[in-house]
Symmetry: D2
Subunit: 266 residues, 4 copies
């Protein structure tokens, strides 16, 4: 911390925000996120990065990266038929709340094409059947090339490990339950059968194992015996869109660090 803030001070940077977390008091991994104002960053960036690498990162064995907050990340959204998460993201994007640029929406259905058009975002239809999954994933890889993050806004297809590896950027999914409860399909149906008194949603990074990736954000809402599956889904939609939006916003602000299968949100 002294080294990083010292170098920033030396460069005349003004620290706007600084958050740290140590995975263990003694000998743990030290995680740090610093937001700073550095005049003329563009011209001085190369020198600063070289200095940072040579004088600090090497000494402390750091993994690090530098992002210009004026350059929002580029996001693509995959969606199937449910509109609530998609529209919420597009609205927030239009309002400037999202902090990243949505450059593409791709779907295995055409239902939401018109909605997306209204926001001036390109829409691509990439159908998937059991037999055409490899071709679909290949097509998606072409389309998703160049994006910094992919958001699954209720995309009801499982992405193969191979696809995730070739994609090479983080994928954020919204799962419609409070994980690890109700991993897999039909969580609301199973929540109803189990008689839970709260339903939830979980935004997580996608890994090859289904619904097992690092959790970014979760929330719940109260339900009762009066709520049948249709009602649970209606309650759940509000939680899903809010939880996904928070996770996406935090990811866009580089607040989320994955460590040991979990996330640290700084």
């Amino acid at each position: 911390m002294a080294a990083v803030s010292g170098l920033l001070h030396e460069y005349g940077a003004n620290i706007a925000q600084s958050d740290q977390y140590s995975t263990s008091i003694a000998g743990g991994t030290f995680l740090m996120r610093v937001v700073f104002l550095l005049p003329d960053l563009e011209q001085r960036r190369a020198a600063f990065e070289a200095d940072f690498q040579a004088r600090i990162a090497q000494q402390y064995g750091m993994e690090w990266s530098l992002h210009d907050t004026a350059v929002p990340k580029r996001a693509a959204i995959l969606v199937s038929r449910e509109d609530h998460c998609l529209l919420d993201l597009l609205w927030r994007g239009r309002r400037g709340e999202l902090g990243l640029d949505v450059g593409l929406v791709a779907s295995n259905h055409t239902d939401l094409a018109d909605d997306v058009a209204g926001f001036g975002v390109p829409f691509e239809h990439v159908p998937v059947t059991k037999d055409t999954k490899p071709q679909s994933e290949a097509r998606l890889l072409e389309l998703l090339h160049g994006y910094d993050v992919v958001i699954l806004a209720r995309y009801m297809q499982i992405l193969s490990g191979d696809f995730l590896q070739q994609l090479g950027v983080p994928v954020i999914n919204i799962h419609h339950s409070f994980l690890p409860a109700f991993v897999g399909a039909q969580p609301y149906e199973r929540a109803r059968v189990r008689g839970v008194k709260l339903v939830g949603a979980t935004a997580h990074y996608v890994t090859e194992e289904l619904d097992a990736g690092p959790i970014i954000e979760q929330d719940v809402a109260r339900v009762s015996h009066n709520d049948d599956v249709v009602a649970l889904k209606a309650v759940g939609r509000d939680i899903e869109r809010t939880v996904l939006a928070r996770a996406v916003i935090w990811h866009g602000e580089d607040r989320v660090i994955v460590h040991d299968g979990t996330t640290v949100v700084l």
Copy 2:
């Protein structure tokens, strides 16, 4: 509903509260809880019950029971070493918030004997080891005889199916996770490993299958990467005691009806 309220009207009863739930709009089970004021209930009870049975219950194939709200249920509490749920229940009992009489606390440890004494409630020490479990359960059955409900306020022993059957009254347990997530032992440790962003607690009726009984109440609280297992447990204690207290109060008010492995809380 017409039949029940009609008979009550005929008897001059004043309905204070009435709640209904139908498990299905057509052909489901109809559940109903009516609170009414009936002057001279004691003297007229036998006649009313006979009438109710003959004129209504038989016709509609009802299971029913009548409880005098002036006579609180008698409860016994089982506890191990954690004090938070126990003390909260005793404290609420003293304040008159609980709506049932706690007549006994039994524990497999002696740690909490003094606390219980301060509330003027009898305390029984019933140690359990792997080898003495049958004797312990036999002793508990003697002690618990005559109670209307048994509350497991962090009792860290699994009760056998045989014990439950012989006991013959409802047993309410507080599980320290948001079921069905983290069934079984060490839920906070597993919550930490999985990196959940909320921890919860679940009050449920005990059945032979571990942590699988009908859920009465649940709640959660927000946690973060900053919260180690010790911190998760501290947050959890507040949720556990509150959730258990709500479940016990509702049970004492005859609000909780078990149906098809779940509860309807009227």
Copy 3:
């Protein structure tokens, strides 16, 4: 209750839901909402209403009304420039979640005209200035004629008592604070100055006195010193739209009864 359910039984109606509330155990006002299935309601409605009035309502001095749930209420929305509440209502309406028909959006600005057009709902621009307020209100009265309820989805004009009286139907407003805290203008600015740790929103029926009408629904979200006014507003938007939607849905289902300056939500 016996009388109402008895008559329904006599007509062969099947009670789907029944909720009651008595403002006082002895001598209070008894409020009741019954949802029932009555085959051939249309043909039998006149007879049923006459019977209900003659045999029940007169005897008990009831105020009552009968609504066909298959005929949704007609709603008009007034809005200024903020889109979040409006879009949320339109979106829920499209999904069939709202339970009432939005037939008109009127605004004192034109900013949201395109958004409204996308949902196929007529949009009317009714500008207001200090000098033209009477004419504006007159124009609104023309436009709002025939609607069952008017929703102020962040409409930043105070409606005159005269207007409300002539309008003659309920008006639901969303106020961007947890009333009665921060009545009036700029609640988020004042919340920031006061240093509150939660911000909220309140949906209420509009009365002549500013922000003093019967509260239908409220909710809050956690904020901190890190949240400046811009951040408070962003957090608040999510609460506002959710709280307003709940209030509108409940109103559409005839769940909300005004009594003595407050609401009973059955």
Copy 4:
């Protein structure tokens, strides 16, 4: 930040936690809380403090203080007749959750003397009448001498500005409403009349102006028309004790910084 972490580094301190907040990006007040491990602190404390003052605090015009986390603050509690906040604090203290030592409970009533005795904490009865308020406050000042913080755990007397000034240490109060709603007496009664859908509690530092001091923590719980004043108070008690406990714990950890009539909780 660079200066502080640099000096700590120089002394071989290990930073365990560091939180910062700037009241304004440019030219605001910079607030910082650093928790560090410094071996042999006791022997080196004088030197470290002198260094810190001379090399850092003077240069940046800092107000600062250094607390040994191994030495908990000493707290005194004032209470009237309600037991819930008091008992919750004493329990948490016994469990080691509170992080400060409760050395005294003083009350204007004797109702809670036995409860306090059970925890081995001295209890002082300091009656107050309208006529004896000055003498009571004088007696309290004697008793409270030497404590680091005073906690009003539902103490239903207004402390004079003179008293607060002479006391000279922070006083934390729990107010039984979501401030600034329902400042002053009988908040639950007024909440019922206003028909709010949530009740809350607010922990704040006491200033001369009633219920206007800097807010440390707030929370709310959902209520409905079914909850009369007695029920609102029961719901409120759970919120009050939790909110007060959080505020006290944070204060004990030196997390709460008062700035401009509000608090920053680091």
